[in-house]
Structure formats: C-alpha cells, structure tokens
Symmetry: C2
Subunit: 411 residues, 2 copies
C-alpha cells in the first residue's frame, strides 16, 4: 500500500465520474464528513421536499394529501427505489418503522416457519440491537429459543439441524468486515435453516444481491448510506417464496388488505405491504424518498470501486503518519464494506479533537475510530486531507485536553 500525493488525488478527483454527485448534497463549509455510515448528510432534494411536504401538503392539503399527494403509497414508492440497490425484485421490499422493529417482524415470521428448531445463530459482535430484538422475541415466545453467537469463521460449521434461523449483519458496525452473504446463506439452507441479513451498513454502500444470494429475509436502515435523515424509516425484504400468505405479528391496520374498510378482522395485505403496521411518519418518509434521488443513474459497483480507492488513500496516509493506529478493517476489498476502523489509544478523545478540527468520524467502544468512506459526496482530496489532520492531532497530542475526554451522551 503506497501513499498518494496531493497531485495524484487531485487528478483522481478531476477524472472521477461520480464527482458531479457531490452537488446533490448540502455539506457544511470546513467539514470533511466521514460519518455518512452513521447519518448520511442532507441532500438538496430532501431539503426542498420536506418544505413542500410541510407547507403545501400538510399545511394546504391537510387530510386530503393522503390521496392528492399520495401519502398512502409513499412507503411503496420509497421501497421501489430501495429494491434495485439491494438486488431485490419488485414487490419484495417494504418501508416501515425502524430496523429493530422490522427485524422483530421477519424473525417472528422465520421462526414460525421452523417450529421445531430452537437456535437463532448469529455472529459474536453482531450489532447489539439485533441481539436484543432476538432476545426479546425469544422471551416473549417462551419456547426455549436460544441465541447462539459464534465467531464469523465458525458460522458455517455451527449450522446444524437445531438452527432455525441464521441472523447476520453483512458488514460489521465496528470493524467494517463484510461477510459473504451467498457463501453463508447456502450452508444455512443446506442445514434447513433460514437466513436473515441486516443490511444497515450495506444498502447504498455497494451492490447487494439479495436475490442472487438467495436470502430469505433482510432488514436495513434508511438514515445511513441512503441519506434519509435522522431516524428515517427502515426497510424489510421478504423473498418471493415467503410472500404467499405473509403475515407478521405486528398486524396493524396499514398492513391490512383493506385498511379503510375498517373490518373487524385482520386480513393481511396479500403482498409485501403486510409488513406495514401503523401510520408512517410522512415527513421523515418524504425526506428519504427525495434523498434516494441521489442514487438515480448511479452504479453501485462504481461507488464501491471509488470507496476502495478512498480507503487506500486514507489508510496508506494513516499508516505512514499514525503508525500506532491498528487498522481493523480487512484489506481485501471484497471482505469489507466502505468504512475504515482503527484501534487507538485514547480513541474517544482523539475523535473529539479530530471533530474539533472539522473531520467528523465517530468513536465506538472501547477504542475504535470509525470513518465512513462515502463516494457520492467525498473527494479523494478530502480523505487525504482528513488523514493528515488526524496525523496532526496525534502528533501534537491535541486530544490531550480535558474537554475532549468528557463523554457526551451519544457517541
């Protein structure tokens, strides 16, 4: 891995086919934003769309906008934009609620399909809410389900006839390591289990192929790489073979076949829309819908290629300037998403000092510096500059200041 010069990164930016996309975003002056893997930035389209939704649709249209602005179909409209980003056929993605809640739904459906098996197999170090939700459902069912967590390299071997569901996050939130979705779904199926994939750090970051990997279910997040805004609605995927008779336990009226008939009995929609529950948060959903426009005509393979180059530039410079930082993210492009994570001493304070100088990444317990490399709006020169500022922070010990050590509520 070699370092890049200023001239080289400027030349890369000049030749970058994705460079014009940056203009679709609203980015603050003086900031290099390397946290789009946690909260994607505002797009110009979302800014305009929210104003329109508030003033024209809610303010002027009032209740009529359910029909005239087609709020009622907005979840399906958004889902249709997400589907091609994750290799999902039309009619297999629903947009609703949060990732956690969608995971509850698909896990409940999956466990019902494997009534005689009791193990939910996951990776040790999977994102905690996935574990918490599985635990919550297992306690509620009270049928002896066990959440079994093993290291990534032991997953395939652990797939036996006791396993009902394999529940995995494709890209690890701490290390950025990527699991091979196809290579892990196949043995799950061979063992008679179903596979649920959490795409929180995948959707919008690189090409995902749910259909090609033969995944059974998936969930994912609207506010990270999809740039939908803080707490944007999440999505759920159900493979075509599981759509027939689809019914999930959070059977709210918006998942009913005819919600406005106000029938006494629940009858599921008969489509992926059975994943819906209550009235969707329209303002947040409108922002997500508009933000997805930033992906129009974008080839995610090109995005991943650029992200890999950003990774090379960034990590080579850090290796040279910050030799004590330990790169946690796999070097092989196919084995990682589009973030770079480092283990560092005083990581929390280092990150605060870095943010104070305009380079925004984030900290993860216990000692991780995490940086999202998001090609829609980052330039090659940005990540070189960010690495150099990190080098200065470490060399000058700028982090060694009490104000950078006081933990904020959200890290």
């Amino acid at each position: 891995m070699r370092r890049f010069t200023e001239a080289e990164v400027l030349a890369l930016d000049a030749a970058d086919p994705l460079a014009p996309l940056r203009d679709r975003f609203v980015l603050p002056q003086g900031v290099i934003y390397l946290d789009g893997n946690s909260l994607g930035p505002l797009t110009k389209a979302a800014r305009e769309r929210v104003t329109q939704t508030v003033e024209a649709e809610w303010g002027e249209g009032l209740i009529r906008s359910w029909n005239t602005a087609n709020w009622i179909d907005l979840p399906a409209t958004v889902a249709a934009k997400i589907a091609p980003l994750i290799g999902a056929a039309p009619g297999t993605v629903a947009v609703a609620d949060s990732t956690s809640i969608n995971l509850f739904k698909v896990l409940a459906v999956a466990l019902e399909k494997r009534p005689h098996r009791r193990v939910i197999l996951t990776e040790a170090g999977n994102f905690p809410t996935d574990l918490y939700i599985a635990d919550g459902l297992a306690r509620l069912l009270d049928r002896g389900h066990e959440l079994r967590a093993v290291p990534a390299n032991e997953l395939a071997a652990a797939m036996d006839e006791t396993v009902a569901v394999v529940l995995l996050t494709e890209v690890n939130y701490r290390s950025g390591a990527r699991l091979d979705m196809a290579a892990l779904t196949a043995p799950a199926h061979a063992a008679g289990a179903l596979a649920i994939w959490d795409l929180a750090h995948s959707a919008g970051a690189f090409p995902v192929d749910l259909a090609g990997a033969d995944a059974d279910f998936a969930v994912g997040c609207g506010y990270k790489y999809l740039n939908g805004g803080p707490g944007a609605p999440a999505f759920a995927y159900v493979a075509p073979r599981h759509l027939d008779g689809l019914r999930q336990p959070l059977s709210g009226w918006m998942g009913h076949a005819t919600p406005f008939a106000f029938a006494a009995d629940y009858r599921p929609a008969g489509s992926i829309e059975a994943m819906r529950v209550g009235t969707p948060p329209i303002l947040s959903l409108a922002a997500l819908d508009a933000a997805l426009g930033a992906f129009a005509d974008v080839d995610l393979a090109v995005v991943k290629t650029k992200a890999d180059r950003l990774f090379d530039i960034f990590t080579a410079e850090i290796a040279a300037l910050c030799p004590k930082l330990e790169l946690l993210t796999p070097a092989e492009p196919a084995r990682r998403g589009t973030q770079a994570s480092f283990r560092a001493e005083n990581a929390y304070a280092v990150m605060q000092a870095l943010i104070g100088r305009g380079v925004i990444g984030d900290f993860r317990e216990p000692d991780i510096l995490r940086f999202g490399l998001t090609p829609l709006y980052l330039r090659h020169a940005d990540v070189l500059r960010a690495a150099r500022i990190l080098g200065e922070v470490l060399q000058s010990r700028a982090w060694d200041d009490p104000r950078f050590h006081a933990r904020a509520k959200v890290v």
Copy 2:
C-alpha cells in the same frame, strides 16, 4: 337544543378566551377544517422547527446534533409535554413508534402480568387496529388467548376472573361516544384484570386523567388532536406501579439502559424509556414537539367547554337544515369527545361535495359523516357556516354527481 344566530356566534368569538390561539396555526384560505381529529393542521411553530431541524441540525450539525441539538432526549422532551395533557405523572409517558406498535408493547407487558388468564376484553366497534394488534399478539403467543368484544353497556358485566386485560378506546372513532375511564377501570381491577386505554381521540381534545382513573397502561396518537403532523410518533403510558422492572418484547437498543455502550446483553432502561425501540424519526418528532407548544398555557377544560358549544351550534343548525341526518354522538357532554358524527344516505358523496365547497370532514364506513370540533383554531362562526354549507349541499343535491361517488384510496 336551539339554533344560534350569526350575531350570537360572532359575539361568542369576540368573547372567546381561546380565540388568540388560532394565530398559532397555518390554515388554508377558504377552508373550514373539521378533520383535526384525523390529522391536526400545521402550526407556525412546527413549520419553523422542521426547517431548523433539516437545515441547521441535520444539514449543518450532521451527526453532532444527536448531542448538540439534543436529538437523543427529544422523545423524552415530547413525552414531558404530553404527560400533563393526559393526567400522567412525570416519567410515565414515552414517545415512540406508532399507536399500533405501542399497543403491542403494553399489551404484551400486561398479558405477562396475568399469565393464567386468557381473555382480552374489548368493546365491539373498537378501532380495528387495536383488535388486529391484539389478534397478532395472541397468535404469536399461541397460548389460547381470546379477544372478546362486547357492547359498551355489557363491558362491566363481562369482567370476570378469566379476563387478563380490558382494552378500550376512550372515544369511539365512529360515533364519538366516550367511555367512562374511571368507571370501567375500577371493575376491571376488581375482577383482577388490567386496563389499557387508547387515547387516540382523547389526548389534546379534553382533560384526560389517567392517574385519577387508575389506568394501568395507555397509548395514543401524535397526529390527531396533538397536531404533530402526518404519521407523527405516538405515545405510551405505563402506570408508576408497573415501571419497576419494565421490559417489553420489542427490546431495541434505544430502550437499553446504556445504548452507546453496545453491550451484548439487553438491559432495560429502568424507566419509561424502556418503551423505546429503534432510532426515532427526528423530523417527525421535531414537528410534534413544536406543535405541542400550541397547548402551552391552555386549559383543556376550557377547550372542552368551547368544543361543547361548537357541538351545540353545529348540531342544532344541522338538525334544522338537514332533518334526515341522524346524530350518532351522545348529547350529554360527558359522554362524548369533541367530534360530531351523523348517519347519512350517500354519506361518501355528501362528504366529497362538502369538501369541494371547502368544509373538510371525513367519511367512515358505512354511512357516517364525521366532524372534528377542535377549539384551538375553530371559531364559533366557522361551525355555523359549515353546518349551513352542509345544508346547501343536501338541499341542492350537489353530492349527486358521479365525481363525488368515485372512492379514493384513503377515505
């Protein structure tokens, strides 16, 4: 019931202590909005707040706004504003998700507290999503729970030792009839059951006294009388006696005691915040937070008194001008919320014709005209005028036009 003259309603408006509140709202020209019980109108405060949240907090602050704009505490901030409107002590209300999802949570908690009882008692004609959610949970548990629906006047007699939970909506969405929360919670408790109240058509409409009624749990809606915007987050109430060890099955990371420690095991918040699940939709939540400012310094008893006067003006005029309409809503103020519902022939088309003339109410299956009487922004003269326009629509048979009969997706 006597009719009011134009001069009388103008005098009432001139003397109305709530009249200045109308200026807090953004109301379209030429519209009399009688559907605030379905979707409350935009407030000026929400309009400004959403712009600030999008542009300054998301756009400029980016991920930092979780701390700097205190997004992380926004659900609790909003909950603290809702609590006094529903007679809830501090620390007993959480804001999260949708009404349906919150009902799932509290019903699961309640059923777990009555493990040997199998009946969920509700009112026949309760809002369908409440029934659907109870059905979904009962199916998931698969322990023989039965949803038993009886007419309102048979509820108390049906509360026996088989009943785990009494699940009621205080104000019926069709008729506007109000159940006596205290008078029905007491026999539920006497029978050893727990009481869950759905406040969808109560919160913000009149004084609710959850603590005084000794309710165990409640849920409610942010986008009706609270004016939080389309699909605004909902709320859940848990009585202080049930807070100790509170844990609900949708155990997502935001309900964890220390979400940003990313611990492997779920440990509930140890407070009402254990009702939270995933990342909240901040744009929608910010709108709700700002909208609640419209209730600052407002006495809901005064609101209900004005709503009753609006009801008298509106129904007396309709009785005189539209003798064929049958008032479904109880005449006694204590026995109703703040809507007026009528049974009408060709109700759907009548409502469309009325909306075409600027009076917005809504239709409910199979033959109901429904009107919300919301004193924060409606004038006495508005409802008199609305009644007269309805009279004209019926007298002129304006509804007898094919374009008013074509059913829209959302009614």
